[in-house]
């Protein structure tokens, strides 16, 4: 976890990347990975409806970017974004989604069965690699509902609620994990069908410094399928 935070810090302070830039590339990777694993034609619901659950931090921001690109790729995303930071970055991303006619739910579906009926896929953009400690409401109840959902869940970077290094045996079991920048230790506990790498922005010098040993991305793709 510390290493992931150190890499992030270096990208911002030494390399002068802006959060906006990296978040846009991260969110685009997530949408691209989803499009590869779950093409719209594969949905059992009549429309390729996707529920994107966004948390209170950067992982939520990645989710907002992802939702916008999913819309452009022909999906019908709906966002649930209960705790919104009052920062221009997140306000901007929210507006961009609203102006793309992406609905924002006023409340979270109370039953897992409702989610299964309405959506063919759920994107978990609640907590990322900075997550530590106890889960605060409303995310505790959201996660318990998601744990009972039967449609596939795609988690951004870390399955929400998992310890970033040790995982969580009785926690969320997503079908897809999109590791951003590099897989985190918790990814060794990932048991779903699809593990993608995204966030193709790590400069070679930084990859070497942290001995990331990332495999090569194919061509100009912004994602790499690991499993």
């Amino acid at each position: 976890q510390e290493e992931a935070q150190a890499i992030d810090q270096e990208l911002f302070t030494e390399y002068k990347f802006s959060v906006d830039q990296l978040m846009e590339l991260a969110g685009l990777s997530c949408a691209t990975a989803i499009a590869k694993a779950y093409p719209p034609s594969s949905f059992t619901t009549s429309q390729p409806a996707v529920l994107v659950v966004c948390g209170p931090g950067n992982n939520g921001g990645d989710g907002l970017v992802c939702a916008r690109h999913l819309k452009m790729f022909g999906y019908l995303p709906t966002v649930y974004y209960p705790k919104r930071p009052s920062k221009p970055l997140f306000e901007g991303l929210t507006t961009q989604c609203e102006k793309m006619d992406i609905p924002f739910l006023p409340e979270f579906p109370t039953e897992a069965a409702f989610i299964d009926e309405l959506y063919g896929l759920v994107v978990d953009a609640i907590f990322g690699f900075s997550f530590k400690g106890a889960v605060r409401e409303p995310f505790g109840s959201i996660l318990s509902t998601l744990e009972r959902v039967t449609v596939p869940i795609a988690s951004i970077d870390i399955p929400s609620g998992w310890d970033v290094e040790k995982g969580k045996a009785d926690g969320l079991q997503p079908d897809m994990l999109i590791s951003l920048t590099a897989p985190k230790k918790a990814a060794t506990h990932f048991a779903g069908r699809y593990h993608f790498l995204g966030g193709r922005f790590v400069p070679p010098a930084l990859q070497e410094k942290y001995a990331l040993n990332l495999p090569a991305y194919p061509g100009t793709d912004c994602v790499l399928q690991l499993t």
């Binding site: 002068k16 802006s18 906006d20 452009m72 061509g219």
Partner: protein, 216 residues
């Protein structure tokens, strides 16, 4: 703040991965910087010539990002053109031309098919598969009347000026793109929201899969 999506084309030949990126002083040049960085991550070997640097903090950060990716910045553009050199000794040139006059004396451009002199003439000096030219256009939201090629009129195009091999129109093709005679014309405008597309009657083509560029 705007984050240009400036993914380079997947169709550029990979036999010779060296690419010269010539960046102008404004947004078009900044897009060139972003493109150079992505080219580097796609295993090309870009070199940048960026003589007039914008003071805009965002664009200065783009410059730092390129420097930290070990992308060299030329301090001057060689003045010699070598038409007699075998094609494989010339780099692929990817140019990002500012939407108005050249930022430096025309005589410095001779490596890139110019004849020396004040008039910009397309001399056709570099032949063969080693030379490709790519242009970025300026998106309409910023300077709607501008067109990429220096020497080209935004609407009418131009008979002088550079003759690029490939044109990448951002957001939507500009009027002058009708005069484009090169091999491939791409549009990169997938990031435009639908209401903007409708408002300006852009009628973009379908983008394949998750691609952010489409060939016209």
């Amino acid at each position: 703040s705007r984050v240009p999506q400036a993914f380079p084309l997947p169709s550029l030949p990979r036999k010779q991965p060296t690419v010269l990126v010539v960046c102008g002083p404004a947004q078009n040049g900044a897009i060139g910087l972003v493109c150079a960085r992505h080219l580097r991550s796609f295993d090309y070997e870009p070199t940048i010539f960026y003589p007039k640097r914008s003071p805009d903090p965002l664009y200065r950060d783009f410059t730092t990002q390129c420097e930290k990716m070990d992308i060299p910045f030329l301090s001057y553009l060689p003045t010699e053109v070598s038409p007699a050199s075998p094609p494989h000794s010339l780099p692929d040139s990817t140019e990002f031309i500012p939407p108005f006059s050249l930022p430096f004396p025309p005589r410095a451009r001779s490596r890139l098919r110019w004849e020396p002199g004040d008039a910009m003439k397309s001399s056709g000096g570099c032949r063969g598969p080693a030379s490709h030219r790519l242009w970025w256009d300026v998106p309409p939201g910023v300077t709607p009347s501008r067109c990429v090629p220096a020497g080209w009129d935004a609407e009418a195009g131009g008979s002088g000026g550079i003759s690029p091999d490939v044109l990448v129109s951002l957001a939507a093709p500009k009027e002058c793109a009708r005069r484009f005679l090169g091999r491939q014309h791409f549009v990169a405008g997938r990031f435009l929201p639908y209401d903007v597309q409708k408002k300006f009657e852009l009628n973009p083509p379908e983008y394949p899969g998750t691609e952010c560029v489409v060939a016209l």
